[in-house]
Amino acid sequence: MKAILSKWLPAYAFLYIVFLYLPVIFLPIFSVNTSAVPKFPLTGFTWKWYVELTNTPALTTAAWNSLVVGITASILATILGICAARAITRYRFPGRTAASGLIMAPLVLPEIILAISLLIVMLSLGLELSLFTVVLGHVLICIPYSVTVLNAGFEGFDRSLEEASADLGESSFGTFRRVTLPMVAPAIISSLLVSFTISLDEFIMAFFLAGTDATLPVYIWGQLRFAAKLPGVLALGTLLLVGSFVLLTIAEALRRRAERRVQGKGVAIA
């Protein structure tokens, strides 16, 4: 049994990874193909689909919308996440487990249900559908990620560090500026990047709550109806993919650095 497993597990792992990433690799390949139809054999190399992107006003508007929504949502989600993470990691209070469970719930709730519920609430509140309502929706789904990242940064943050700062004569504000902030800064930046990436790629919320202002994923979806626009979508998709990848890599690197920093080395508390 063991022998069979050890023989087939690598093959399984290989197939799994191919299935996961091959389609993603097709995206950039077809985006630089001269033919408008995504199929092999490739016909030649071109940047024209990328150049065309910049000449599409609807696209630049959508990109701008996405940027505005992403930045706003990531800042709001991170501010709220800081409050939640600080409370969860620092204090013991009744309902703490329930609260942290509820914060994480949007991760597992069907997003379409969330989106429809939000739509109903917004409309009954008399809110005009706009980029603002999209931001609200995005904050909701970004918070679980932001809290997860920030929890890691705050957890293990030795409380005696803040006490040591006070002990050495520093005021509360000085302690926050000289100790707390530098310690959690990597986690905060990481939370901003992760939230921004999620907001940038998010479709369902944006689709339901955007009104007439399309974000990039909504724009892409609209373009898919026209076969001639497909190469442009592939080019745009490639750009989003690269952008997200870079941002998430930076975020992860920062998160790890924060974790190392907070935990330190050679600290054994008996």
Binding site: L161, D167, L168, R261, V262, G264, G266, A270
Partner: protein
């Protein structure tokens, strides 16, 4: 220097510290010794200003500390975790409170100034924590179990260094520890605490040799206890009879009610094995029932007729205590002065 006046700290109905009164003198190395949960750290944190008494007052250098936050107290602390700022290097850590780097040399950290805080060993972190606190020129240095994270050898080395340092800088040190040997080796005086109460305040020698009660005696090392019936009691002394020992006249223990029974105790190393024809003024005889080898010493359990329980005896290995067969008949010598009476 530090006055603790009937300080109580309650958390709901639980009293972490119960009516503690204590005076710590200027320039003294003072230890708060006790098992975990005895209130020693609570007391230290209240002196530092991280916690406030529920009732009572703390005075440092004659000044009431009530309402004075930690950052304005003339005390500095070495934390159990050392609380070295991991995002700063050694120099920045030491200079955190102010820009004066003299303390670096004092605790032998020369050459480490630019090293990152996360690259330090346990002993080095401890030194940085010390330097960082001492550079503030505090009137009192508070140490919260500063050696507990170090291994045995380094701990012993740091104990010597800590004692030297205290003598060199001459400021008051208040050490919290659960390690009785550490407290005995370092302190000028020790307060032994149990369950939020101070059981005894005295010099290491007195704490060890004249423990106030069985709990203190037990916490500071092994002791043989036996019931003694009181023959006579007056203001300063009591006279006790025990089945095994001679009639003993000793200091009247604290809290002794006046008659009936008291406990008599003797440390295992104060019972000496009498080899060959060696003699002692007071002798008892018994049989070896257990033998435990500890390198430089051997721990014997000796069954002596007349005693309710076998006696623990610690003997150096110079004369072959490590080779005594089980069942061997031996004689033990003791000095009646080594016997201490306790009320409980």
């Amino acid at each position: 220097m530090i006055e603790i006046r009937s300080v109580t700290r309650s958390y709901g109905t639980f009293k972490a510290l119960d009516d503690a009164t204590l005076t710590i003198r200027e320039g003294e190395f003072f230890s708060l010794l006790g098992p975990s949960g005895c209130g020693k750290t609570t007391l230290l944190r209240m002196i530092a200003g991280f916690d406030d008494p529920t009732s009572g007052a703390i005075l440092v250098d004659g000044q009431p500390m009530d309402g004075i936050p930690a950052n304005r107290r003339p005390t500095n602390m070495v934390f159990q975790s050392y609380a070295i700022f991991p995002h700063l290097n050694v120099e920045q850590n030491v200079a955190y409170g102010l820009k004066r780097l003299r303390a670096l040399a004092q605790v032998s950290l020369v050459g480490l100034g630019k090293r990152g805080a996360t690259e330090l060993s346990g002993g080095q972190r401890q030194r940085v924590a010390l330097a960082r606190a001492l550079v503030m020129r505090p009137k009192v240095l508070l140490l919260d179990e500063p050696l507990s994270a170090l291994d045995k050898k380094l701990r012993e080395q740091m104990q010597v260094e800590l004692r030297r340092l205290q003598q060199a800088v001459g400021i008051t040190f208040v050490l919290v520890t659960h390690d009785q040997y550490e407290a005995l080796a370092l302190s000028d005086r020790i307060a032994v605490m149990f369950g939020g109460r101070i059981a005894q305040v005295a010099s290491p020698k007195e704490i060890y040799q004249r423990p106030a009660n069985r709990q203190v005696a037990d916490f500071l090392g092994g002791m043989n206890f036996m019931k003694g019936s009181v023959v006579e009691a007056n203001g300063a002394t009591i006279t006790l009879d025990t089945p095994g020992f001679c009639r003993v006249r000793t200091d009247r223990p604290a809290g002794f009610s006046g008659n009936g029974h008291a406990t008599l105790g003797i440390r295992p190393e104060r019972l000496r094995v009498l080899w060959d024809d060696a003699r002692a003024s007071h002798e008892i005889s018994g049989k070896v029932v257990e033998r435990h080898y500890f390198g430089e010493i051997t721990h014997l359990v000796v069954d002596v007729p007349g005693f309710e329980k076998p006696l623990s005896v610690t003997e150096t290995n110079d004369f072959g205590a490590d080779d005594l067969p089980i069942g061997a008949a031996i004689r033990l010598g003791y000095d009646p002065d080594a016997l201490v009476a306790m009320a409980d």
